[in-house]
Assembly symmetry: C2
Homo-oligomer: 137 residues x 2
DNA sequence: CTGTATCCACAGCGATACTG
DNA sequence: CAGTATCGCTGTGGATACAG
């Protein structure tokens, strides 16, 4: 149990060093994953791709409120981490298909559970917030 | 399947409105949860508290590289969302105990699965990144 | 159709100092 | 011991314009 904590937090040695934040991030692989999940679009795109592969434009239509910039960037990040495969078809006009890799599909399993939890319990969270904010008066 | 997507993304009506970002966040409960997970300290503190309740100072020692400010703030956020209970003991000096609520414990289940995944697969992610960055030359 | 490049606003987080 | 207040940096994400 303690081991899990140690893996999540920064290395203890670096605590002695001033301005250690940048160094630590490189040493915490768990954050690499959580960072994506916490990002605004990553889980959403993974959900879309979990259904079936999609093209750039299709994803754009499925998530109409994402900017082109963030769609490209998020897909790049997912590809970089090995969650998504990008295939270019040299047609005219060119088309690009994105699909979940094996790694991506395996990551999506626990992620989906989390999404289910969020959907099931957001009412409770809302209520807790209201109570807290009420009491803070 | 489509329903899940719709719940995750912002409401479609607001797409028509300029500068709709702020409005949407209030309408997307799933993000409320993911936001915390993606935060730098929330999952770490939940992991610590999943073991057993702890006092402020104990948490500070368990996570030596967290600032006082972020420890307080993260605990407040967790408390606000109903994941954590805060109990003040009117001793001298005063002590405060934090413990996971039922809701917090239920959230921690899927979160723990995600952490396990991250621990198990961060090597693969690292490798994928290296390959990607290599190819980008 | 599928991107890149640039600029900018805001929120998250850290450092530091102060308080009941 | 357990916070609060203030400041400043940095990273994330949005708007817009341009390109192969």
């Amino acid at each position: 149990m303690n081991g899990k904590i140690l893996q999540l937090r920064a290395k203890s040695e670096t605590v002695l060093v001033p301005n250690y934040a940048k160094l630590d991030f490189a040493n915490c692989p768990v954050r690499d994953v959580l960072q994506q999940i916490g990002g605004k679009w990553a889980t959403l795109l993974m959900t879309a791709l979990a259904e079936k592969p999609h093209r750039f434009g299709a994803l754009r239509r499925m998530v109409p409120d994402i900017s082109q910039r963030m769609l490209t960037q998020t897909l790049r990040d997912l590809q970089r981490d090995g969650y998504v495969d990008r295939t270019v078809f040299a047609t005219t006009p060119p088309s690009v298909e994105y699909r979940l890799t094996e790694l991506g599909r395996s990551l999506y399993q626990p992620v989906a559970l989390l999404l289910d939890w969020a959907n099931a319990n957001h009412e409770a969270v809302r209520a807790a917030r209201s109570r807290f904010d009420e009491a803070a008066l």
